[in-house]
Symmetry: C2
Subunit: 139 residues, 2 copies
Amino acid sequence: MARSKREDWRGCPIRFGMGHFGDPWTLLIIRDLMFRGKRYYSDFLGSGEGIASNILADRLKRLHSAGMIDKARDPDNRSKFIYTLTAKGLDLMPIMLAIIDWSATYDAATEAPPEFIAQLREDPDSLMRTLRARLLEEP
Amino acid sequence: MARSKREDWRGCPIRFGMGHFGDPWTLLIIRDLMFRGKRYYSDFLGSGEGIASNILADRLKRLHSAGMIDKARDPDNRSKFIYTLTAKGLDLMPIMLAIIDWSATYDAATEAPPEFIAQLREDPDSLMRTLRARLLEEP
DNA sequence: GGTCTGAACTTGCTTTTTGCAAGCGCCATG
DNA sequence: CATGGCGCTTGCAAAAAGCAAGTTCAGACC
């Protein structure tokens, strides 16, 4: 096998996952959408890690064509675009939470709030419901 | 912020994760170790996706220095090395299973065995225990 | 309706990472 | 002590990422 482009990776579930987010940036964008309430291109640009604008544009395009995010004009300011997670994107939440759990364990400098981690370990399902509900009712 | 090398990414749990496995190859190696019983350099090389030997050597080095895998001479053939998961590497299992779950949902061509997915969704904890036990008792 | 501004990209160029093919050193076996 | 498998390393070409500057388009203001 091999030799196919990564976007075409499928079959093996881990390989399929890597085809979609096997790079350093994609899941950081998902994080911004999922946990930090960010919605605009300029929000992602200023997100701390310093993603380059061309890479950001490319990743947004890929996420959109993979059906993980939607893109729409901001009704309050039609010169801006609002990006939001689709169901497929929201369904990445268990992956994100598993990463957060692992990192909270192994990163001595973790900034994950202790009560978030506590709830994640005690009752992950209710935490997920809370987070999803918050995302769906956002303005 | 920004400008630091990815190996030094920490603080934010997602960023920390991406610093460790924010590339297409690392988790494929973990998959081979975790689900496919692979242990040798040559096993990983021949794993279907066609990783280049220099990249493989580099990723094994990183995984080892991050404490996610061990490297030891094969007692049966001292010209070979055996790679195994450490506790830190084994603890990636929830992430791997979450990826598998997501991919089984969204990859129409998934090769994940249906009964594996069924058990993953019904009783993930017992599946995890089974998988971990199998890894620990391996020859 | 002309100009200005902010937001969302795009372009061109440099640097870094990856991919590929070949080679090298070590240990086991005959 | 030659041969061959195994685990890498090296050199070079191709692709991706990073950086700075430029372009486009919508809306606001004049």
